[in-house]
């Protein structure tokens, strides 16, 4: 009997890992294999540039965090990696394929190897927990229903919600919905999972649970995880590498230890949540006095 969440997750994936268990050399090879490559990426909404000259390399088996303030272009970057939008210039390569050059059929083929966890789960509200997790399996495979059932229950066991398979999404708490969405996103054992703010709005227990699940599942399945988040402390515990985006460019990057010790003003402000720093409190505006029509400034 598994008492802890990790024990349950490990128990479930033990079966899968028997056939997948790589030796040390293949683990090393896997870690050096580049899964996602972002080269000189630029993206603009109309005239407004959102991302400028972004370069990133993400290896297999790693958890990579992308951090930055609201509106800094983190989610846009995920959408570019997933091929939901097309870059203005530059490119994103996933598993060796330039994403924006793929036609729709090839893009859909590539997307079978990737998955995305949306901010609030994006569960299908008209389907039960079981059917949500089974959705992708039923759509993309011809497996018999008995096997679909086994697979779904294994995925739900991994996130600790096997007992909730009959519930509807409306009956789940925020943390449970996020875990079901996580089970759904690993349904077809993807190479890459993108998490869009997975920690938003969660209580501390759920937050730790989701964070640990991200790490464990990445290790167990040998996939790559890209986590877009604001939650510095939680993500630094689980990630291998961090990119900070500010004003559409990569402001800093490094391992969690490098980030913690960084004296770069932006990183320091972000990691310690300081009000003053390179990120200003005020949105750009003309002089306060002139807005209030005071000729001699503030009285």
């Amino acid at each position: 009997m598994c008492h802890t969440l990790m024990g349950c997750a490990g128990g479930t994936f033990g079966l899968k890992l028997k056939s997948r268990q790589p030796d040390i050399s293949s683990l090393r090879r896997m870690a050096s294999e580049t899964l996602v490559e972002v080269n000189d990426l630029n993206f603009s909404y109309g005239e407004r540039p959102l991302l400028r000259g972004i370069n990133m390399t993400m290896h297999r088996g790693k958890v990579i965090a992308i951090m930055g303030g609201s509106g800094s272009g983190k989610t846009t970057l995920l959408r570019l990696i997933g091929g939901a939008i097309v870059p203005t210039s530059g490119h994103v390569k996933v598993a060796g394929e330039v994403v924006h050059k793929l036609n729709r059929d090839d893009l859909f083929q590539l997307r079978r190897k990737m998955s995305m966890l949306f901010q609030f789960g994006a569960l299908f509200t008209d389907l039960s927990v079981f059917d949500n997790v089974a959705f992708q399996i039923r759509e993309h495979t011809d497996l018999p229903e008995s096997m679909v059932r086994d697979l779904v229950l294994m995925k739900l066991q991994a996130v600790g919600l096997r007992g909730a398979h009959d519930l509807m999404p409306a009956q789940l708490s925020g943390g449970m919905a996020r875990r079901v969405a996580l089970a759904r996103s690993i349904a077809l054992d993807p190479l890459l999972i993108m998490y869009d703010e997975p920690f938003t709005g969660l209580d501390p227990i759920s937050l730790t649970v989701i964070g640990n699940l991200v790490r464990r599942l990445t290790d167990a399945l040998g996939m790559t995880s890209i986590v877009v988040t604001h939650d510095v402390q939680e993500s630094l515990k689980i990630v291998d590498y961090v990119y900070f985006i500010s004003d559409g460019v990569i402001a800093a990057h490094g391992t969690p230890d490098e980030v913690r010790e960084s004296v770069a003003p932006f990183v320091h402000q972000f990691v310690h949540g300081e009000e003053d720093g390179p990120v200003t409190f005020h949105y750009p505006a003309k002089a306060y006095a002139s807005d209030l029509k005071l000729e001699t400034g503030l009285a």
Partner: protein, 265 residues
């Protein structure tokens, strides 16, 4: 003054361009639905599920409305026809009014209000809650998986709902004219049977309902899919579905009637 005129003309130009663009986008969307209907046809259970929501759940409002419309027709028909001593023709009047016009049109208007608005709201909310985006990321086409089944369910259920409306309406007319007022039972049914022509009345009525079904459901799914992903956007799209569908139904009804019933006795 010339500057204001220029701004006005520019505004009109923008609206015309936007409307044309939107019309083109809607036409392209409609074509995509047809092209991607293979999934719906191969996995017909998806359509059957939607038939329940759009068709079966609309039965009550359609039946109750049909009953009352038929009863009113019976009352009004009797009131007018008895002035000419032709009260036995009330069955003919009720049946022709329902089969040719009121059945298809009122059923379509009710369908737009109940099922059309529900389809728009559902698809719009799926968009707002990123369910459609999630589906795209799972390499599942939302037009094939979500939109097309709803479209075909609407198209299939509309003729049946209109038929139900007419049948219940005729029964309502019978209740008032025969049971309550006392018009002769035999002449009510026999005159109706003689006057209603299968090809020119019933088939034309069915054609109308099919056209209305396509129009209402196409508007509903398009508005839902095109809705801004906000509460305001979804509510606006739902309103537009009802307004646009109603106007399209009435406009199409005039066009179809003018083609179908030219000088037929």
């Amino acid at each position: 003054m010339p500057r204001r005129v220029a701004i006005g003309i520019r505004g009109i130009g923008h609206r015309v361009i936007d409307s044309t663009w939107r019309l083109g986008y809607a036409s392209r969307f409609f074509l995509l639905i047809l092209l991607k209907s293979g999934t719906s046809l191969r996995r017909f259970s998806l359509v059957i599920r939607e038939l329940y929501f759009t068709g079966v759940l609309s039965l009550i409002i359609i039946s109750v409305s049909g009953l009352f419309v038929g009863m009113v027709l019976g009352l009004q028909g009797y009131e007018t026809l008895q002035r000419f001593g032709a009260e036995s023709a009330v069955g003919t009047m009720v049946a022709l009014s329902l089969v040719r016009e009121l059945g298809p049109v009122v059923a379509a208007l009710l369908f737009a209000s109940r099922a059309g608005s529900a389809i728009t709201a559902e698809i719009g909310l799926m968009k707002a809650t990123e369910q459609l985006a999630a589906m795209e990321m799972m390499a599942v086409d939302p037009i094939a998986r979500v939109v097309a089944p709803r479209f075909w369910a609407g198209v299939i259920s509309m003729p049946f709902l209109a038929a139900m409306f007419s049948v219940v309406g005729v029964f309502g007319g019978y209740l008032v004219a025969v049971v309550l007022i006392g018009v002769d039972d035999g002449s009510f049914w026999s005159q109706m049977q003689n006057a209603v022509d299968f090809r020119y009345d019933i088939v034309n009525g069915i054609i109308k309902t099919c056209v209305f079904g396509v129009a209402v459901t196409a508007v509903a799914v398009f508005e839902g899919y095109d809705a801004s992903p906000t509460a305001e956007g979804v509510s606006g799209a739902t309103t537009r579905t009802v307004v646009t569908s109603s106007l399209v139904i009435l406009g199409l009804d005039f066009a179809l009637t003018s083609f179908m019933f030219r000088g037929m006795s």
